[in-house]
Amino acid sequence: MSRFFKGIFTLRRGAWEMLASILIALGVFLMMQPFWLLAYTWSFLVTLVGTVMFIIVSHFPE
């Protein structure tokens, strides 16, 4: 866990890609879950942020 946070603070690709992946997965889950309409409303924003972040951070150093 501390390695993950260290990667985040030192702008390492692995940690940031992990964060972006979590956001994308969360966004897709919120979009398709059948429980809460408000979560569906915000799902696209979460997915978009995750996807854009993924494209940017895949250019970070390993």
Partner: protein, 315 residues
């Protein structure tokens, strides 16, 4: 000595042109080869994508081409993301995606594992299993509507034979509860052979020497399966899941032929809904926003997936 075609062309080419062609750098020649592909990619993929994003912020309707186009900002996105009907469509798509991939991977891998064993008639069985995949989805959708008929359909009679229920007591495509499963069954029937073929390629790529070494180490069959077969087939399996996931996210023809999105809207998948918005209601701007939402979702998922696939391959 007989003169070949290249010599004839070289002799017929005017000296000026020949010099010009010969004078091209490697970089220029590379551009000549790659240029048409890049042009086509820009014209067919990139330009429509940018145009769709632009339209998604307007109230443009393609059937009212002369009406003034108004910039409405994020209103299309706001409407889509607060619409309970579209939310329901997303859930129907999620149900379809999850269960088709689950069954196709499970049955496809099992079939591949069985076909990989050496037995008589192996090739014949492979051909027979692969047949559904070769049919047109529209044809499959059409003939399954007959198989699902409560009065004359074979499917109902088979179910009745095993359960003892009256064949006409249930309708697969007419019932709100059964229709989502009806499309899952047909897609699984049609596309399991595809997953099977990919898994079979993975299984056949494992060298026998690894199993022989495991046998010498007295590893049980169960242990061999989990520590050799599954890890080495995993990249192939993931590839199959990626292909089927993307294909099923945009599933259209099969479901339209089979249920038309009904009863009600329980089998209305996002692609069907999108097509209705774009080409039946002619709300082009709204449909563009819808398409952008789906595009970002698929793109995001594909990015994670390709990363995971590369990691598995590196292992």
């Amino acid at each position: 000595m007989a003169e070949n075609a290249m010599d004839r062309i070289a002799r017929a080419t005017p000296p000026g042109v020949a010099r010009k062609i010969r004078g091209l750098s490697d970089r220029a020649i590379a551009w000549i080869f790659v240029g048409p592909s890049i042009f086509l990619l820009l014209a067919i993929n990139i330009f429509p994508l940018i145009w769709t994003i632009r339209l998604s912020f307007t109230n443009f309707r393609v059937n009212r081409i002369n009406a003034p186009v108004k910039w409405i900002g994020l209103r299309n996105y706001e409407r889509i993301l607060t619409d309970p009907d579209i939310w329901q469509t997303m859930q129907a798509t999620a149900h379809f995606l999850f269960w088709t991939i689950f069954f196709q991977v499970l049955i496809g891998f099992t079939l591949a594992w069985l076909i990989n064993k050496k037995f008589r008639g192996n090739d014949l069985w492979t051909t027979l299993i692969v047949l559904p995949m070769m049919l047109s989805p529209a044809v499959v959708g059409n003939f399954w509507t007959f198989l699902y008929q409560p009065q004359i359909g074979l499917f109902n009679y088979v179910v009745a034979f095993f359960t003892g229920a009256d064949p006409s007591s249930f309708s697969m495509i007419g019932s709100i509860d059964l229709a989502p499963w009806a499309i899952v069954i047909v897609d699984t029937w049609m596309w399991t052979p595809f997953v099977m073929l990919i898994c079979l390629a993975g299984l056949r790529s494992i060298p026998d020497s690894i199993y022989e070494a495991a046998e010498i180490d007295r590893a049980s069959k169960w242990r061999q399966f989990w520590t050799i077969t599954i890890p080495l087939v995993l990249p192939f399996l993931m590839m199959a899941v990626l292909f089927r996931g993307i294909e099923n996210f945009k599933m259209f023809d099969l479901v339209v032929q089979l249920t038309g999105g009904g009863p009600g809207s329980v089998t209305t998948l996002t692609s069907i809904d999108l097509k209705r918005e774009a080409f039946e209601k002619w709300r082009t701007g709204y449909a563009s926003a819808y398409a952008v939402i789906l595009f970002v979702t698929i793109f995001g998922l594909a990015s994670i997936y390709v990363k995971a696939l590369n990691k598995v391959k590196e292992r």
